[in-house]
């Protein structure tokens, strides 16, 4: 195993470099997709094999969704595509052509947190925070679509989100607390924290 420290800045630079290194010929053959991300129209040139999580992170600078398990189990990469939660680590970006994508960056309205974010804060529903974007997206999708879900239904829905810091009780109580306040327009992007990669 390598003992080298993971350096995010270097990783990003390498990603961008490998992108730039793709020959013009390669890029001409790559599909262009159009999608709406957090309410903004985006056009991306991707490979057929590009994963949605990487397109969001490396091309749009939206790093809230992160790949942890890479096999659909942990939920750290959860985003909402056309009103449904998906594992962006198992989604091909090309298949999101024409889709509406909502990521954790689209939840807040500038500095005003989304009600579920505020509830997480008040309940202390995280420790390291690594799993939080995924839990928020799952919670938003559940509460926006299910009518008065029981605790058992909430547990069943959240079964695919893992928290290594075991904040489960607090997460559950934050979600349960927001049941009354939730509405279908929770699936609409708000003002958003639209981070962009440095040019």
């Amino acid at each position: 195993m390598s003992t080298a420290q993971f350096d995010p800045a270097r990783y990003k630079a390498e990603q961008r470099q490998s992108w730039n290194a793709a020959s013009q010929h390669e890029r001409d053959r790559m599909p262009e997709i159009r999608l709406t991300v957090n309410g903004r129209q985006e056009r991306l040139t991707v490979k057929n094999s590009t994963l949605l999580v990487n397109a969001l992170r490396d091309q749009l600078g939206l790093t809230g969704a992160r790949e942890a398990c890479g096999v659909g189990i942990c939920g750290a990469c959860t985003v909402i595509v056309n009103r449904r939660t998906v594992s962006s680590c198992l989604s091909l970006a090309v298949l999101a052509d024409g889709a509406e994508v909502l990521t954790v960056e689209g939840l807040s309205d500038g500095d005003r947190l989304h009600p579920l974010q505020q509830a997480f804060l008040e309940a202390g529903a995280f420790q390291c925070g690594y799993c939080t974007p995924g839990f928020l997206m799952s919670g938003v999708a559940l509460l926006a679509t299910a009518e008065d879900p029981s605790e058992e239904e909430v547990r069943h829905f959240l079964v695919g989100n893992l928290c290594r810091c075991t904040s489960y009780q607090e997460i559950l109580s934050a979600v349960m607390k927001m049941k009354e306040q939730a509405s279908p327009d929770w699936l609409q992007p708000r003002g958003g924290l639209s981070a962009r990669p440095p040019a």
Binding site: P31, K47, N48, S49, L51, G70, V71, G72, I73, G75, T78, R84, T85, V86, S87, L90, S91, L92, V94, L95, S138, F157, V159, G160, N161
Partner: protein, 292 residues
Amino acid sequence: MRDFELLYPATIAEACQALRRHGEGARLLAGGTSLVQFLKEGMYVPEVLVALQRIPALDAVVAADGGLRIGAMARLTDLERHAALRQAAPLLRAALHLVGNVRVRNVATLGGNLCHADPHADPPTALVALRAEVVLGDGAQSRQLPVAEFLLDYYETALRPGELLQGIIVPRQERGQVSVYRRFTAVSEEDWPCVTLAAVGSVRGRAPNLACAALRLVVGALEPRPRLIAGIDELLPLEAGDAARRETLAETVMAQLAPVDDLLGSAWYKRQIAGVLAREALADLFQQGAAP
């Protein structure tokens, strides 16, 4: 993951043509939940993916004589919510609801689940219990096969080169039929099941004098394909109060299974669990039979 070409055929015939043209180098893409995993791990390295997304109506659910015909591209979440399916095949609905997690079900298709042919999958156990059939087509002709004969081995099906799965025909569960789907996960709730069990039957009489008059029992995840338990008819009718015979049923189930030791448990453990699920399933059937 090595890059690949992506084709979007507009018809089944075009899709099958693409499969024939590219042979071993081509794979069909449905929801991609299993396929992408295999691509990432390098288990499959296709040159071409043939996407089924743009073939119209491949996800339709329609009434077929005596049951429902489910399009191969129907997604599990949509099927879970489908009112006609809930009524016609509550057993299948119960199995679909337990597949992986909601993000998987939101994207995964029933056709993909069957064609992936992972022996731990939930829907096949229920589909075998319901005597469901698959419809396979090559663009010119189609043929029908019981699900039990479609699944051959780990990741192997009866699909021929150039063929795809078009739909699944699920017979309607009769009125008065009782059914139960159970699974046991050895590690954590959302993990692949260690054992799955589906039971369909009928219960007659009034509580407490109930008797199970018909029973079809299928156990999955323990062997390369779901196992239909034989020899149950000899134990019928099985009276609810006949504890000895209920135990014989559990033993009949356990005796026919050939599980292997793996990370989900030892062979001994899995066989015991199958016995537990069989006892629980029977109790559940009686309970359903007792309900007005």
